[in-house]
Amino acid sequence: MKINMPITNNEVVMKSNTILVTRTDLKGVITFANDAFVDISGYSREELIGSSHNIVRHPEMPAAAFEDMWRTLKQNRPWQGMVKNRTKSGDFYWVNANAMPLFENNAVKGYLSVRLTPSRAEIDAANQLYRKINAKEATLHPTGLAAARKFLSEISLGKKLAIACTLLMLPNILLLRELLSSESYLLIGALGVSTLIAFWIMAHVTQSTRNFFVSAVHELFRLSVNEFSPPLNLTRNDQFGDLFRGIYVAGVKLGDDIAQAKQANSNSLRIIQGLKYAECSILITNANSEIIFVNQAAEQLFLRAEKDIQTAIPSFSVQKLLGSPIDIFHNVPALQKEALDKLQDSKTSQFDLAGHTMQLTVKPVFEVNRERIGYVAEWLDRTTEVKIEGEIEHLVRAIKQGDLGKRINLNDKNGFMKSLSTNINELTDVIENVFNDINHIIAKLAEGDLTNSIHSDYQGIYAQCKDNMNDAIVKISEFIIQIREAADFVNTSSQEMASGNNNLSNRVEQQAASLEETAASMQELSSTVVSNAENTKTATVVVKSAAEVAEKGGEVVKSAIAAMQAINESSNRIAEIIGVIDEIAFQTNLLALNASVEAARAGEQGRGFSVVATEVRNLAQRSATAAKQSNELIQNSVQEVRSGTAFVNETGAALMEIVDSIIHVGTIVGHITSASNEQSAGISQVNQAVSQMDDITQQNAALAEQAAAGSMAMSEQAAKMTHLLNFFKINGKSPAAFSAKAKLATSKPAANVQSAANSKVAVNASFDEWEEF
């Protein structure tokens, strides 16, 4: 017999309404233990399952009790009794034990133990009994008289009836004997019949009662293997009927309970399956904080972190997680027993577990009566998120401080985090490119290089910034080009002005000399004007006589025109007469032709007449020809007269014009006379003006020299400015090339100046003009 030691005097009291259930196989090895049993035994489920049931035996339990139990069970009878059990730690607890065989296909497959909470009185009685048994002062079953009484009282029903019948028959047998002796045979017969009937009833009742109990027992055993709705006769009116009905009600109720239990079971199975494949990682513990459920997500979470956790907790293993106490993560404060016991509602905490940032939400689970039956722990490995949060924060801080070279490493990321990181990296790329481009452009701008522009493709404000930047550079370039052009223009212009001013200075000196000559010439001019006035008087007389002669010519022309008119009229008249002659000739010809026709028709007789007609026709044609010639002559003469008239008219008009012209010449000669007088007055004014001009010319010479000096200074300034502007490098235009172009551009407007300043021929020509002046 197994003696489990040590033992203590601590009693663990079973809570009321608790049922401890175990199942064993035929050898007494535990195949099932419910939570309450595992809980109170102090062993883990793994330790209990597969162990012999005597693992919980308390050494103070009398061996006779167990012998009795096994003997009873082997008879396929249930056993009931008080049992004292030992916990793993050596404490003890009392139970009201009920053991019974489990049937399957009418054969015993194992045993079921159901332990109820005993009352204190029962515990005390049992305690006393077992102490006596252990001290050999009492036995478990009654002995001696008590045993005989028990034997008698439990004799089977048939035997008891047989005894009763026999006892009842004794007086009858004695009476029969008296009657035989008195030879009253009628009475003997009656007595015999009644006795036989009584026997028969007795036997029948006994038989039916026995059958009834057999079937009742059979049905009750069927209930124990979950076969409900017993086929019983429920319509009996006697007490048997009542019993059948009771069994039937109990059986149906039991069936209902089991159906409900199955329903509840499948409900919880569904929930468990759901939990099993849920996305979040869930651990569930029982009231003893032992892990009884790990879903797939949790398994994978811990598998991922297993290696790391093992460095901190070497005993950790995902395989052993199920059944381990929850405080296997012994450095997690939220999972310490004290913390869990105090927990009333869900609580979320975040902690570092061997380098993994875990978010843990623990929630106690309560029964309906607020009894704590376990905990649900939801785990979340936030390591990656936290790491990425850190990386993003680091990157953003770097960007804030202007360090755009940093990027998030994409190799250890996937899914959402990878796409988020990629997007952030791309954002940083864009910002970096924009600033690099702008920086490059502005740096080049600072060096005066305007040949660069931003070519990258951007969108939105970046694209605006890029466009504005490029526009600004183009604008500045254009501006500088214009300034350069202006500067070059000023340069060339000022040089030309300088040379022009020098020339001017020289000319002004020459002008002064020329003015002296002019003054002398004026004196000569004055005497010439006086002789002019004399000559004009003679001219006036000649003009007057010429006018008279011309007027006489005009009269002659008028009479010639009148004569021509008369000739013209006569000619027209002659032409009309000739037209008449021609008409007559035509008609004569027609008549002659008609005569010819008639003559032809007359044939031979008309031949002479035909000759005459022909002669007439010839005459008519001749006169027509003569008329035609005369007409032509007359027309010619009319034409000649007409052109003669025109000539005479023209002559008349010409003579009139000559007269007018001569009169006009007369007036002009008069004007010349008065003009000569005015000229002599004007010439003296000119002399005065020439002397003033001489003074002004002297001043001009001085101003021209100053202007030449100013132009030279301006030219120097423009050259400096051009040199400064060469600092800027402009797209497609080297400063030298540009300068040449600027000169070309300015050469046209300066052509006039240049021709005077640079061309020797032009200078000579201008000198000639000067001398003439």
């Binding site: 027609l590 008609n594 026709v597 028709r601 031949r607 026709r617």
Partner: protein, 169 residues
């Protein structure tokens, strides 16, 4: 003109006239009269070469403009323009009087019949039936017309109808 030495059977007299500077001739025996141009009475809805009708001493005769008949260039009429009144025969061998407008009359010629050249044949497509022949006179080619065929028979009928109407008046 000398006609005495010539056999009358071998000589025929032709009245020549000008049309668009070319000389044409008609047998003098077909000529009834030669008249200066005078305005004619216009007959509406007739072919354009019919200028109208003329009252010739009581009888109404149709006037045909040969320029238009021969599709020559049209000119204004001048004082030299003449109307040659012809008496032609048509298919029923009946005589019929009409006038043709010519630019001017030229002459009366005696032409030997064997000196009349046959008119050139231009094929059936071209209507040259009105040509009797050609005669060369002083380097000029005179086209001699067969006045009976000057108009198509249908045209003659139409024109005759016009003159008939005139006759009734």
């Amino acid at each position: 003109m000398k006609v005495d030495a010539v056999n009358s059977k071998q000589v025929e007299q032709f009245l020549t006239f000008e049309l668009a500077s070319e000389v044409y001739g008609v047998e003098i025996l077909k000529v009834q009269e030669i008249r200066g141009w005078e305005p004619v009475r216009v007959i509406p809805n007739t072919p354009s070469f019919i200028k109208g009708v003329l009252n010739l001493r009581g009888s109404v005769i149709p006037i045909v403009d040969l320029r238009e008949r021969f599709s020559l260039e049209h000119t204004e009429y001048t004082p030299k323009t003449v109307v040659i009144v012809l008496c032609i025969k048509h298919r029923r061998n009946e005589s019929f009087v009409m006038g043709i407008v010519a630019d001017a009359v030229s002459d009366v010629l005696d032409i030997k019949i064997d000196e009349i050249k046959r008119a050139p044949n231009f094929g059936t497509q071209l209507d040259t039936r009105y040509m009797r022949g050609m005669h060369v006179y002083k380097q000029n080619m005179i086209m001699l017309l067969d006045v009976d065929k000057l108009l198509n028979p249908d045209e003659v009928d139409d024109i005759e109808a016009i003159s008939d109407i005139g006759s009734f008046e």
